[in-house]
C-alpha cells in the first residue's frame, strides 16, 4: 500500500470559491445552450413570438383607438413588448418540473453529492442559460426594433437601475421556482402547483398586458404580489418615463420580495431535504 495521497485544493475564501464555482457552472450551461442550438433557437423563437402576438394585437387596438390605449401609443407598446422578450429570456430561472424530474430519475443524488448547495448549482445554471440566450436574442431583437419602432424614454438613472432590477428579478424568480420545486421532496408531482402559480404570474406580472391597462382592483392585486416587481418593473424601468421616486420604490419592493423569497426558500429547502433524506433519497 502506498502513502495515502491527500489531494491538492485551491486555498481561498468562501465567496471567492463560490464565485469560481458559479463561473464553472455558468460556463457549462452556456456550452449546453450552444450545443443544443436548434432547441435554443426554437425556444427563443417561441419567446419572441409570444410578445410579438400581444404587440401586434395591441398596436391594432391602439391604431383603431386614435393612436393610443390609455396613453399607450403603438411605439410604447413596441418598447414594452420588445423589452418584455429580452427580460423573459434572461429571467426564466427554470421550473419546478426540473426538480420533480431530478427527484424522480435519481439525478438529485448527484446534485446533493457535490460540495455546493443544489440551489447555487441551479441558479448558476440558469444565469448561464440566461446570459447565453439573452446574447442570442440580440439579432432577433434588432429585427423587432427595425420593424416595430419602439418609443423609449430612458434616462441615465433608468439605465443604472435596469441591470439591478433585472438581476434581482432573475434571483427572485429562480428562488420562487426552487421553492415550489422543493415540494417534490414531499409530493411526487409538483408541476401542477407550478402551473397554478404560473397562471397567477401570467395575469399579474404584466406578461399578458401592461399593468397600467388593467382595472384599478387588478392593479392593486398585482401590487400586493411579487410578480409585477420581478417582471413588469424592470421593463417599465427601462422604457420609461419613470420618476426617481417610482424607480426606488420599485427597487425597494423587488428587494423586499427577494429577501422574503430567499428566506422562504431556505426554510422549505432545509425541511424538504430532511424529509427527502428520511424517506429514501
Amino acid at each position: 500500500m502506498g502513502e495515502i495521497v491527500r489531494p491538492a485544493r485551491i486555498v481561498e475564501g468562501r465567496l471567492r470559491s463560490l464565485a469560481a464555482v458559479y463561473g464553472g457552472v455558468m460556463r457549462t450551461s452556456m456550452i449546453r445552450t450552444v450545443q443544443y442550438r436548434a432547441n435554443t433557437l426554437i425556444e427563443l423563437a417561441l419567446m419572441v413570438a409570444e410578445p410579438v402576438v400581444y404587440l401586434v394585437v395591441w398596436q391594432i387596438v391602439a391604431r383603431t383607438n386614435d393612436g393610443s390605449v390609455d396613453g399607450f401609443t403603438a411605439g410604447r407598446f413596441a418598447a414594452y413588448f420588445i423589452a418584455w422578450s429580452w427580460v423573459r429570456t434572461f429571467v426564466q430561472g427554470g421550473s419546478p418540473g426540473n426538480w420533480e424530474r431530478r427527484v424522480r430519475d435519481g439525478s438529485m443524488a448527484g446534485f446533493l453529492m457535490r460540495p455546493i448547495h443544489p440551489v447555487h448549482q441551479n441558479l448558476a445554471l440558469w444565469v448561464g442559460f440566461g446570459i447565453a440566450r439573452a446574447t442570442m436574442w440580440i439579432p432577433a431583437g434588432a429585427v423587432l426594433v427595425l420593424i416595430f419602432r419602439p418609443e423609449l424614454h430612458t434616462g441615465a438613472l433608468q439605465l443604472l437601475v435596469f441591470p439591478v432590477a433585472v438581476a434581482m428579478a432573475m434571483l427572485a424568480r429562480t428562488f420562487t421556482q426552487d421553492t415550489i420545486g422543493a415540494g417534490a421532496f414531499w409530493f411526487t408531482r409538483i408541476s401542477a402547483i407550478g402551473s397554478i402559480v404560473g397562471l397567477v404570474e401570467l395575469l399579474t406580472s404584466g406578461r399578458l398586458v401592461p399593468l397600467e391597462l388593467l382595472p384599478g382592483w387588478a392593479q392593486a392585486v398585482s401590487w400586493a404580489l411579487p410578480f409585477r416587481w420581478t417582471f413588469a418593473f424592470p421593463i417599465e424601468a427601462l422604457i420609461g418615463p419613470m420618476s426617481s421616486g417610482r424607480l426606488f420604490t420599485g427597487l425597494a419592493m423587488e428587494a423586499g420580495w427577494l429577501v422574503v423569497m430567499w428566506m422562504v426558500l431556505r426554510v422549505v429547502w432545509s425541511r424538504g431535504i430532511r424529509h427527502f433524506s428520511a424517506v429514501g433519497g
Binding site: M1, G2, E3, I4, V5, R6, P7, A8, R9, I10, E12, S17, A20, V21, G23, G24, V25, R27, T28, I31, R32, Q35, Y36, G106, S107, A109, G110, L112, M113, R114, P115, I116, R274, S277, A278, V279, G280, G281
Partner: protein, 352 residues
Amino acid sequence: MASAVVVDRLSKHFRVPEREAGLRSSVASLFHRKHRIVEAVNDVSFTIEPGEVVGFLGPNGAGKTTTLKMLSGLILPTDGTATVLGFEPFRRDNEFLRRITLLMGNRNQLQWDLPAIDSFELHRAIYRIPRSEFVRARDELIELLDLGDLVNKPVRTLSLGERMKTEIADSLLHQPEVMFLDEPTLGLDVTMQRRIRTFLSDYNARTGASILLTSHYMADIEALCKRVIVIHRGRLMFDGDLSELAARFGTSKTIRVQLADTDTPAATAGAVDAVVAECRDRGIEIDDARPADAEAAAGAAESHFDGLVTLTVDRSNAPRAAALLLERLDVVDVSIEEPPIEDVIDRVFADG
C-alpha cells in the same frame, strides 16, 4: 491512524405506502392510505480502515445501497451513528463531500449531450482543484482507463462500458479518500469488468483510498476485496476475510483428483463409481459431479478424457473421502478446495 469509516448500530426504517391492485383500491387509497414499515437496515456496525477495500454483499433489497447512501450523506439514519473521515455524513459539509465519492452504476452524472471533457471541467470548478493538479489527474485517468478520444465525444454516443469508464474518471478527478462504489461494473462485458477491476486495484494501491464496493459479480469481490461484509434483510450476517466466509458458511468442499490412467476411461469411471459408493456406505455425503467425466468415460469424448475427477463432499468428511480416493485409485494429484464463492453466498442468502 483513525478508521476511515465507523458505523455503529446503524438503522434505517422506511414508511412506505401500499395498496392492492385495481381501481377500487386506488380510489380507496385517496381517503385512507395504508402504510407499512420497511426495515431496510437494522443495527449494522462495522469499521473500515484507511486503504482497505471491502466488499459489501447481499441480495437485491438487502440494504446495501441504503447503507451506502447513509454513509455518503444522502439518507438520514433512523437510528445509530456513522462517521466517515471523522465527518457526520448527513451534515454534508463541503469538506466531507470533497473527500469522498459515491458512484452508482445505474446513475449518470455526466452531462448527457456534452463531451465528458466538459463535465470534467465542471468537476474541476466545483471541487476547486488546482489547474495543474486537475490536468495531471485527468490525463492519468484517461490513460489508466484507456479513454483516449472517448472524452471528446458527446456522452450520449458512448456505449454503456465507455460511459461507465468516463463516469468513474469523473468521480475520481478530485482524488477521493473514501469511495462508495455501488455496482460499478453493472451491465459491462467481461473485458470491461476486468479492466475496471484492475484500475480500482491500482488506484487503491497508489492512493491508499478506502473502498466499500457492492457488486453482484463475485469476480469483482474476489479480485479486489480481502474482506467482505455480508448483509441480508438489513442485518449484518458476516464481517471478515473472504476465505473465512467459505469456512463459516460453506457446508462442503471440492475434491479434485487427477488420475494416472487416462487411456481406459470406462474402467477408470467404474473405479471412481466404486469409491463413491464405498464413501456413501461409510456415511460420507458425496456428490459425484462428473457429467463431463462420465460423458468422456462413456466414450463420447474418449480421446479427450484427461483423468480429472471432481467430487463435492460434506466439509467434515473431506479428509476421509480424500484418503479413500488416494487409497483406492491411482492418483497423480489431489486438491481439496473451498467451494466457489458464488455457491457459498447463495447458501448464505438461502439460509438467511
